[in-house]
Symmetry: D2
Subunit: 140 residues, 4 copies
């Protein structure tokens, strides 16, 4: 990680305590950086009805959209948690990344003890489903 | 609506343009007010894989949690859209409201032309599923 | 419950063991009856990524659609679990009910010790969001 | 594809018409084969609240679980749609696959004009999130 990414990492680790995870006790935090230097964050937010749970990565991306930043491309998304290996984003989060990132956008998977693994969207969601697939597969 | 709610309404209507709804063209916006006067917002954010779409109400609530505000109770959640009648929140959003609101928390359903309808969580999600149900129904 | 509903109940209680709930240990089961007498079932199916969990009610309704039964209206949906009070369906399940049921369709909430509570879709999801709302709220 | 897979393919293509996709007009169908030769199917089922939509792949897997088949491993999951290239499963479906398949389980992506692409779960969801990650990342 470079110094900018290290800053994102420190922010994300500090933000872990904000997670709302009374059911799993599994805290996850994410920090998103745009090309122009804007930062948004996210934590996982659980629900008694487990299926209504949302992950940290998606909260960070939703904040990015909700703040009207979509014309400022995502440069990097960093994720952290108390896992042994660098944390793995769930498939649903990878799908939301696919809507707002490019194939080569950098994703940094980390854990709270400093291990990390760098990847791109295409690395973690190969052959992903896009609006182009949706458009060409509609019944005409 | 009182003057505080009117301010929320104006904010929510202005925020409608930020919605990311290329698939449905249906823009929804929400604004949440806490007891101490903090405000968070949300818009709907769609996905080429429709099931990965999120609604405005949930984005506003996720922001509330992500900003570490859960000890400051939600006073009111206001929702708006370009519907003929005051907009109706989907069932999934009502479930997320149930995790972070009280039965009597005020929800104001509006549309962009000024119609509105006031309700409480218990009005729009009677007999809702809670962490208490989850706890007492687990296999022991 | 009448004898037909009692049969649905017995089926649903027996089906509780099929639930896949390693994370919550909370088993839920549902049985759906159509006007012509067809029956489909469902159980909750959890996921290590909690947000990818699905509930019993939705599995029963998805089976109804997947079996090509949508021209045969839903007469009744019965739900059961090991809760103290008759089980409460989550908001997301209520939203999926709203897509395939009428306002007056009967929903029977039960628990495994025989308590039950009868309701209609409109009772448990008042003022629900429909395709009509979606159609009239699109940007033109 | 071998003859067994060809049979799955024919079944899935025929089943495309059962999809409930009034909003996207995008029909998807899936067929799942177990080691012992059992078959379950799925179609996508949309909702006026787009986020409550479910995909074909998940319906096929939910049926597999709901029918009590989890001790009979999944041998293959085949997916089809009217896309130009072999259809791509969304990230959320890949996450549900990860709960019930092995890294090497075969996934056959096809389209209705006969193109296909074979993959494994690990190919399409590298470094996936599992119950092991959940267990070791919980706060102790």
């Amino acid at each position: 990680m470079n110094s900018e990414e290290r800053k994102l990492y420190d922010l994300a680790v500090k933000h872990l305590d904000t997670a709302y995870a009374p059911y799993s006790k599994f805290h996850v935090s994410a920090a998103l950086l745009t090309e122009s230097g804007k930062i948004t964050t996210g934590v996982n937010i659980e629900n008694a009805a487990y299926g209504s749970t949302i992950c940290a990565e998606r909260v960070a991306i939703f904040n990015y959209v909700n703040q009207g930043l979509t014309s400022d491309p995502i440069k990097c998304l960093l994720i952290t948690g108390n896992t042994s290996r660098p944390i793995s984003p769930c498939g649903s989060c990878r799908q939301v990344m696919a809507e707002f990132m490019q194939a080569g956008t950098k994703i940094i998977l980390t854990n709270a003890k400093g291990d990390y693994k760098e990847a791109t969207l295409a690395d973690i969601l190969p052959y992903y489903f896009t609006d182009g697939d949706l458009a060409d597969g509609r019944n005409k």
